[in-house]
Symmetry: C2
Subunit: 168 residues, 2 copies
């Protein structure tokens, strides 16, 4: 433990930026979503993933992997969305022990209404200020960090690189 070197000046500067982005970005995304659609970012993200799934339906376990969430956390959020009529849960027709989450018509309408404002927020805070080259760098940096955060390799955010060898 005592042999771990401290961060040098360049690393510390990058680290303070990353920490600040991690702390501040969710609030920035959320402010707009709360105002426009009374949704947390995680709720929006969950509805958006369902909206792109076949028949707007996913198994809860797959939805957890797609939203970087644990199953208990996701279940809690889905219950809230169910209370608002945006999502409906039911047994999976092909595996009775599994539970599916389905985006209702009301849920679809909420996502469709919230999406343009959300995309504008994402562009304003991220893509409007990055060069195309930096978008590629962000992708590669995020991939490397995510692989350390997801040792079981279950997150959908890494689907397209799942079978590629680890770098270094």
């Amino acid at each position: 433990m005592s042999e771990t070197p401290w961060l040098d000046e360049r690393e510390m500067r990058a680290w303070l930026r990353l920490i600040a982005v991690v702390q501040l970005l969710p609030g920035a995304l959320e402010g707009e979503l709360q105002q426009d659609a009374q949704l947390t970012h995680f709720e929006y993200f969950t509805l958006a993933i369902l909206s792109e799934a076949p028949e707007r339906t996913l198994r809860m376990t797959a939805l957890a992997d797609s939203t970087n969430a644990t199953l208990p956390r996701l279940s809690h959020v889905i219950r809230r969305l169910e209370d608002r009529g945006l999502v409906r849960r039911g047994p999976c027709p092909t595996d009775g022990r599994a539970t599916n989450a389905h985006l209702t018509e009301a849920g679809w309408d909420v996502v469709v209404a919230a999406a343009p404002g959300h995309v504008a927020t994402v562009r304003r805070h991220v893509f409007d200020v990055l060069t195309p080259e930096q978008v590629g760098q962000l992708d590669a940096i995020g991939t490397s960090i995510l692989r350390t955060l997801d040792p079981e390799n279950r997150l959908s955010a890494l689907d397209d690189v799942r079978d590629q060898p680890l770098p270094r």
Copy 2:
């Protein structure tokens, strides 16, 4: 609003990675800190900033800027740290209306004990998997995003670039 273009494939991939890092990194940092020192990451970060300040003391407003926090959120956390004897609050000697936060000896001991394990965690999840070139890229990307998240330009995480012109 309706004129905002959707994210293209490259942007969406980078975005899903960034979102996943933002959602998962705090938990990864926190798991180790909770186990080693019973601290949230934000509590550790606050104590670490104080440990590097002159006389281990900062005004609450400056500490908020250094920890990317609002004053109410910081006050809440400082109260908890005070209850554990790690921080002490008092009036600022040079401005009686301002409040200072001071790291106690017990607080110092907690930071010193937790730091090596925390640095090892940070290295494992971030710097061990990035090239030196990527560290510089992360710094630049973080700087650009932070500037949009901090329109009042008050965060200490941007101190070294505060007087530089905005890119683009």
